[in-house]
Symmetry: C2
C-alpha cells in the first residue's frame, strides 16, 4: 500500500465525461489499497471565461479580486470530482486552498507556498477518504485568497506530496511521459522511463512543455518522486527522481530540447573596458526584458562583440534600447536576428564523459549546419542555429547520440 | 451619513453591463457620504449551469459538495463587482461567507446563520472600503462551506444589517416595490410606500414573490428596516418596518394576495370522534405533504366533513393517502378539487376595525363568486374560490377596499 498524490490538469477534467474517467482511475487505485490525495485544475476553458469577464469590468488588473475570481475554477472541479467519486462508492471530500490552509505569501497572482497544514488530510486518509484539493490556490495568514501563477496546480501537488511524505506524485496530463525529443519533429523519439530532476529542469527551461520548471525545482528540493503520465492512456509514464544509483548505466544524453522563442542581438565594436557588460545589460533589465544566453569574446583589438538572446516578443524593444545606448558606449553598430532557434542536448552522463561536445559539433557540421552561439552547463550544451535547420538539427543529434535505442 | 446594506439579486448582476450599473449605484451612495456593505447573488443562469454539471456526475445529491459547487457562483459575482467598483475609483474588497465567518449550522443546502464576525467589515468601513459579500453562503465551525437555501442572499443581507446595526437594508430586485396587488391582474395596483413586517409576512406566505418569507421573519425579529427597490428604475421602493406610530392613519387593508398553487381535499362523512383530525393528518404528514388551510365544521349528525388544502404538486399523492385510510376511519368518500385559488386581504388595520370580513364577502357575492373555504388570522382573511374567478375576485376586492387610492 502506497500514498500517492495525483494531479489532473484542465484537459484531463475538461468535461463531465472526463471527470468520470478520472474518478474511475482514482477508484482503481483505492481498490488496490493505495491512499490517494487528488489535486485538480479548473476545467479547460473555464479560466479563460473568467479572465474575459474580469477584463470586461476592470480597467487595470486588480490582483486581489482576480485571485478571488480565478480560484472558483478549481473549486468547481473539486466539487464535481468529489461527487463523481462518491457516486462510484469511493469516499471523497473536497477542499479549497483556504480550507486546508495552504499558506502563501501575499504576492497575488504569483504567490509562493510557505506551509501546508497536513492534519485534515491525514485524518481523512486514515478514515478512508480521498481528499480532493483545488490546485493553483492558497490563502494568506489573514485569510485572503491567493493564486500561485503558471503551473500552480503542479506546484500544489508537489507541495502536498512533500508535506505528506507521499511515495510518488503523479502528474496526469495529455502526454504519456517525457520523450528524448519532440515526437512531432523526430518520430523515432522514445519515451524515457526515468530522468533526473536536473535533466528535467534543463528540459523545462529549454522549452519542453511537459512540466512547469517551478514544480520540478520544488520536487527536486524536497526530493519528491514525480511521475508524468497520460490521463487518457495506460502506461507508467516517466519517473523524475534523483539518480541515486551508480552512474555506470546512465545514458550519456537523455534528451534533446529546442526553443523557438528566442532572438539574438549583438552590439559590435564595443570598447573592452571593465564593467561594460553591466553598462549594456542594465538598461535592458530596466526595460523589464529577460536575457537568456550571453556571449562576449575575448577582445583582440581593445574592441569586442557582445551578443545575447532575449524572448522573441522582446526583440524589437531590446533593439531600440541598444540603439539608444550605442553612442554612449562607443559601440559600432547593433545587429540582430529573430530567425534563430536554440537546440540543446541534456544528460547527467556528460559530467563523466569527454567528447560529448565534439560529437555534437561534428554531427551538425556534417550536415552543414552553422553554429552561431554556444553555451554550456554541467549537464547541457546549447547551440543557436538558423531556424530553418531546427528539424534537421534535432534529428541529426537524436541519431548521433542513438536516442532511439534504450541505454544508448 | 447612514450605513446601508445593499443586496443585489441574480438578475441585477446578470451581465457585465448590469454589474457596471450596480457599481454606479453604489458609487453614488458613497459619493453622498454613506457607508455601504453589498451582498450579491450568483449571476442569473450560473446556479442552473452548476446544478446541471452536478446532476451529470452524481447519482444522488451530495449535500456537502453541492454547497462547495454552488458557492462559487456568488464568489464570481463578488470579485467582478469589486473590480468594477475599484475601476470607478471606489475602494472595495470582496469576501466569501467563510472569509467574514458567517457561521452556520451543518445543515447543508439549507443552513441557518448562527453568528457573523463584524470586525473585518467594521475595519473596512472605517477605512472607506465597500465590503462586497457573497450572499447565500456560510461556513461551519470546522470550516466546511454551507449554503442557506432559497432566498439565502436576502437572509445574508438582513443578518449583516442586524449585526452591523445598519440604518436600512435595501433589497434591489426587478420590481420597484411591494404593490397593493399583482399589477399584471389589476393595473390600478399601487406601490406601497410602507408596509409592516406582519403584513409582508402574510403577503410572502400567500404567494407574493417579492421577498422570501425567511428574510422578512429575520428582519422582523431583529428589527431591521427593509426596503425593496428596483435595480433598474429610480424610486424609493417600499419600506418594510414595524408600525411604531399610531394606527390612526393606517389603511384598513394594505394589499391583496393570491395563490394559484393549492388544491383542496375533503373527506366526507367522517365520524366526529376526538382525535379524528390527527388520524387524518398524520398519514398526510408521514407522506411529507405540507398542509395549508384546514376546515372542520361542527357535526350535525355525528358525522362531519373534513377539508384541507395542499400544494397542487402533492394533490394526487394526498388523494391516494386519503383513499387508503378512508375505510379505517369510517369515512364516506374522498372528494377533491385542484382548480381552486386562494385570495387574501391583508392589513394590520383590520385588528381595530369591524366589518372588514362582511365587506369582503359582500363584494364577492355581488359578483356571484362562490366562497368554498374561509380562513382568518388577526391581520388576514383568505377565501378559496374557483380558479376561473381569480382575476375578478382580486379586482373586485381591490376596488371594494379602495386600494387604488392613497390612505384608503
Amino acid at each position: 500500500m502506497a500514498l500517492y498524490v495525483y494531479k489532473f490538469g484542465g484537459t484531463s477534467v475538461g468535461s463531465v465525461d472526463r471527470i468520470q474517467k478520472v474518478a474511475d482511475k482514482i477508484k482503481q487505485a483505492r481498490d488496490l489499497g493505495h491512499q490517494i490525495v487528488v489535486v485538480v485544475s479548473a476545467m479547460s476553458g473555464e479560466t479563460n471565461r473568467l479572465v474575459d469577464l474580469a477584463n470586461a469590468v476592470q480597467t487595470e488588473v486588480n490582483p486581489r479580486e482576480i485571485d478571488v475570481l480565478l480560484s472558483t475554477g478549481e473549486q468547481v472541479t473539486m466539487a464535481l470530482l468529489s461527487m463523481a467519486l462518491q457516486a462510484k462508492g469511493c469516499l471523497a471530500r473536497s477542499y479549497t486552498g483556504s480550507q486546508i490552509k495552504i499558506l502563501t505569501d501575499e504576492n497575488h497572482t504569483k504567490a509562493r507556498i510557505e506551509a501546508i497544514d497536513k492534519h485534515i488530510l491525514q485524518a481523512d486518509l486514515a478514515q478512508g477518504y480521498v481528499p480532493v484539493i483545488a490546485g493553483f490556490q492558497g490563502v494568506t495568514a489573514n485569510g485572503t485568497i491567493t493564486t500561485l501563477g503558471r503551473g500552480g496546480s503542479d506546484t500544489t501537488a508537489v507541495a502536498l506530496a512533500a508535506t505528506l511524505n507521499a511515495d510518488e506524485c503523479h502528474i496526469y496530463t495529455d502526454v504519456d511521459g517525457v520523450y528524448t525529443t519532440d515526437p512531432r519533429i523526430e518520430p523515432k523519439a522514445r519515451r524515457l522511463d526515468k530522468i533526473t530532476f536536473e535533466e528535467m529542469l534543463e528540459m523545462a527551461s529549454l522549452g519542453s512543455k511537459v512540466l512547469q520548471i517551478r514544480a520540478v525545482e520544488f520536487a527536486g528540493k524536497y526530493n519528491v518522486a514525480l511521475r508524468v503520465l497520460s490521463s487518457f492512456k495506460a502506461g507508467n509514464g516517466t519517473l523524475i527522481t534523483y539518480d541515486e544509483e551508480s552512474n555506470m548505466e546512465a545514458p550519456l544524453i537523455s534528451g534533446i530540447a529546442h526553443n523557438r522563442d528566442e532572438a539574438k542581438l549583438t552590439l559590435t565594436g564595443v570598447p573592452d573596458l571593465p564593467g561594460i557588460a553591466s553598462k549594456i545589460l542594465s538598461p535592458i533589465a530596466d526595460a523589464n526584458i529577460e536575457i537568456d544566453m550571453i556571449i562576449q569574446n575575448v577582445a583582440s583589438d581593445k574592441n569586442t562583440d557582445f551578443t545575447f538572446t532575449v524572448h522573441r516578443n522582446d526583440y524589437a524593444k531590446a533593439f531600440k534600447v541598444l540603439e539608444q545606448i550605442k553612442h554612449d558606449l562607443g559601440a559600432k553598430a547593433v545587429i540582430g536576428d529573430d530567425k534563430i532557434v536554440k537546440v540543446s542536448i541534456i544528460g547527467v552522463g556528460m559530467r563523466s564523459h569527454a567528447g560529448i561536445a565534439s560529437t555534437m559539433f561534428k554531427a551538425l557540421a556534417d550536415e552543414n549546419i552553422n553554429i552561431e552561439m554556444i553555451s554550456t552547463s554541467e549537464i547541457k550544451i546549447s547551440v543557436v542555429v538558423d531556424e530553418k535547420y531546427l528539424e534537421l538539427a534535432v534529428r541529426t543529434l537524436h541519431a548521433a547520440f542513438k536516442l532511439d535505442q534504450i541505454n544508448s
